[in-house]
């Protein structure tokens, strides 16, 4: 069943074969999209590319819809053109890349394909470079990485022989703009002829519903997931009933904690196959944690370590498959595989003193009640250390005094081993490890965690998670917030209207909200928030207009307002002390300049 990319597996599939499975919507039943339907989409993209072809042979593609994405990718390859896949569609990310090529898909102002039409298979050779990806920037600026068809095919062949899909439905919870999602959720199904779910599965409740459909249809699915989703599976759902429908789970992007791996096994009834690798290296090794923490290299991959324990790699997934290349991770051999020991020592200089971040990390992680910790250098006036500390729910500081105590205690515990400049000055206490969709504490997440230091009007952001129909964001009121007035007053408080302002700012990012503030409805501020208070803000967005059911699952669609139904944002904020605000923010397309 498996065919290499260079054999153009997209052309040969029988027209009536299932290409994608459209999951049930609110009022629609699941159905199948056939190869011939998808071919029509390729034709549509070919027509669009043709229109712009005088301007470029390089395309910038960001498209969350897997069908449209795969059709656009194939259309570009069929022309022999180059494609750049930005990691996200944030204005900063896309802005600099726009100069390199014409933007396609869900990028502001970009072109999308129109009505379907038959594809044209030309004799144009495939491009030299299959595609270019960008690293997440967890260790610095995003880097461009070119992948040849040989590299991709080597990896796809390994996966297909190790874990063939065998016609199972591939359900993805990750972005295909990154190497792991691209390989597992788009290219593997393409090469192995396995149907894909037509939309990305974002929520555990959705996953349960989809798996129940598969079970009722006597089908099996494979889940392409990642630590953020797997570590937040609610145990209360009736997973047991869908166990027969799930054949395999993959996770990649970051290591899964043992606890999360056990949780996923308990809930989903099948062990998680974790893949270790990076955008640069492709897949290196895999493991199932219940069999041990060691990683088994993929067939054809050679690993060794040097006297600093640094990993060296020789791999057909690399651009130079014959060359040994040194990696940033350290390893120790164990049995037939290896155990990851963390990144090679990271040294920063603070106040002229060399400080090992790795040593600070280790010390932080060894402290009682600390579940996970990471030290981060922050470029303030001088370099200063910050720390992100994950504590159990009960150990989290919830007000100014408790936070000061926690920081003081942590610093005292570290003071025995480190000089004062090595002690973190800025602390963020979280109950879930804050990551991007790939499970990484990436540059943009770090920026969000410490944004209040640079912007006195921003809240202290400590994480966010999707809830039914919206988001729940954990925040603190920064002691130095511009909105907290009068340091010398007996009891400075946060004005309630600030919460409305913060809610609007968060909603713009989380719901890609474009509408404007139009007024407040039934808004109550029963209890003021104090500086240092930790609280949870819950936001539920009601768009003015809902289109067809399939579009509802995509939360990145901007609402339209042809329908008279009012667009609004439901807001409430709670802390352990009680409810601080509840009510509704009315929204409008018109810019009334009230905000």
């Amino acid at each position: 069943m498996y065919r290499k990319l260079i054999e153009r597996p997209w052309r040969a599939r029988p027209p009536s074969a299932p290409f994608a499975w459209r999951p049930p919507g609110r009022s629609t039943r699941p159905d199948w999209i056939r190869v011939e339907d998808w071919h029509q989409r390729i034709g549509a993209w070919q027509a669009l590319l043709e229109q712009h072809a005088a301007m470029t042979t390089t395309w910038l593609l960001f498209e969350p819809d897997p069908l449209e994405f795969s059709a656009a990718l194939v259309a570009i390859w069929e022309r022999g053109d180059s494609v750049l896949l930005p990691a996200d569609n944030q204005p900063e990310t896309v802005g600099t890349l726009r100069r390199a090529g014409v933007a396609l898909g869900q990028v502001p102002g970009a072109a999308s394909a129109g009505a379907g039409r038959p594809p044209r298979w030309l004799s144009q050779p495939l491009p030299e470079i299959a595609l270019s990806l960008y690293t997440s920037g967890s260790t610095g600026e995003p880097q461009r990485l070119d992948k040849s068809f040989a590299q991709l095919d080597a990896e796809l062949a390994t996966q297909a022989s190790l874990w063939p899909f065998e016609g199972r439905v591939v359900i993805s919870q990750v972005s295909h703009q990154h190497i792991y999602g691209l390989l597992f959720a788009i290219l593997r199904p393409l090469c192995e002829g396995a149907p894909i779910a037509a939309t990305t599965c974002r929520y555990p409740e959705t996953l349960l519903a989809w798996l129940a459909c598969c079970r009722d249809d006597a089908r099996q699915a494979v889940l392409v997931s990642a630590p953020p989703a797997l570590s937040r599976l609610p145990e209360t759902l009736d997973w047991q009933s869908v166990h027969p429908a799930l054949a395999r789970i993959y996770s990649s992007g970051a290591p899964l904690s043992r606890a999360a791996s056990d949780l996923a096994l308990a809930c989903l009834g099948t062990p998680v196959h974790e893949v270790y690798g990076s955008s640069e290296t492709g897949g290196i090794a895999w493991r199932i944690q219940q069999r041990g923490e060691a990683w088994t290299p993929f067939p054809g991959i050679e690993v060794r370590n040097d006297d600093e324990q640094r990993l060296w790699l020789r791999s057909p997934h690399l651009a130079m498959p014959e060359t040994w290349q040194r990696q940033a991770d350290r390893i120790r051999f164990a049995g037939d595989g290896f155990v990851l020991l963390g990144r090679a020592d990271r040294i920063v200089k603070i106040g002229g003193k060399r400080i090992s971040l790795t040593a600070v990390d280790r010390a932080l992680n060894a402290l009682p009640r600390v579940e996970r910790a990471q030290a981060l250098p922050l470029q303030r006036r001088d370099l200063r250390l910050a720390a992100v500390i994950q504590l159990s729910e009960t150990a989290l500081p919830r007000d100014h005094a408790a936070r000061r105590d926690a920081v003081r205690r942590l610093r005292q515990q570290l003071a025995a081993r480190f000089e004062t400049p090595a002690l973190p000055r800025y602390w963020r206490f979280v109950d879930h490890w804050p990551t991007n969709a790939q499970g990484k504490l990436s540059a943009d997440v770090r920026q969000r965690l410490f944004q209040d230091l640079d912007d006195r009007r921003a809240p202290r952001w400590l994480g966010e998670r999707p809830v039914d129909g919206g988001w729940c964001i954990t925040l603190e009121v920064p002691e130095q917030s511009a909105y907290v007035d009068g340091h010398f007053d007996a009891q400075p408080v946060l004005p309630g209207v600030t919460l409305v302002h913060w809610a609007m700012q968060l909603a713009r990012r989380l719901f890609s909200l474009e509408a404007h503030f139009a007024g407040l409805e039934r808004l109550r501020f029963p209890l003021p928030l104090l500086p240092g208070d930790r609280f949870e803000m819950t936001l539920v967005h009601t768009p003015a207009h809902r289109r067809d059911a399939a579009r509802q699952t995509s939360r990145h669609d901007s609402p339209r307002s042809e329908d008279p139904r009012k667009e609004s944002l439901q807001l409430h904020c709670d802390s352990r002390r009680g409810r601080h605000v509840s009510g509704r923010i009315a929204l409008t397309e018109e810019n009334a300049d009230v905000e």
Binding site: G351, R381, E419, W427, E479, H487, P531
Partner: protein
């Protein structure tokens, strides 16, 4: 300026100059050590603070470490230093 007002002004200067994110003026005890075990400041902070005092009050600190350490011992001693030497 009263001593209390000066102390409050210095607290604000310390918080802002050193970008202490979660410290409020009420958190700084005038008798508590500023460095290491108390507020937890370090040698880089001492340099920053010296610079701020110079700019704001025209104070030049001695070059010997021992007297600097005494001036910077706690908020009270810092206020005493500013009161006796300020030129602005």
């Amino acid at each position: 300026m009263t001593t209390a007002a000066l102390e409050n002004e210095l607290k604000q200067t310390i918080i802002e100059t050193l970008e202490l994110e979660d410290v409020t003026p009420e958190d700084i005890d005038p008798d508590e050590p500023l460095f290491v075990e108390g507020l937890g400041l370090d040698s880089i902070d001492a340099l920053e603070l010296g610079l701020a005092l110079q700019k704001r009050y025209g104070i030049t600190l001695e070059s010997d470490a021992e007297s600097s350490r005494q001036h910077f011992a706690n908020l009270k001693s810092l206020a005493a230093l500013v009161e006796s030497r300020r030129e602005k």
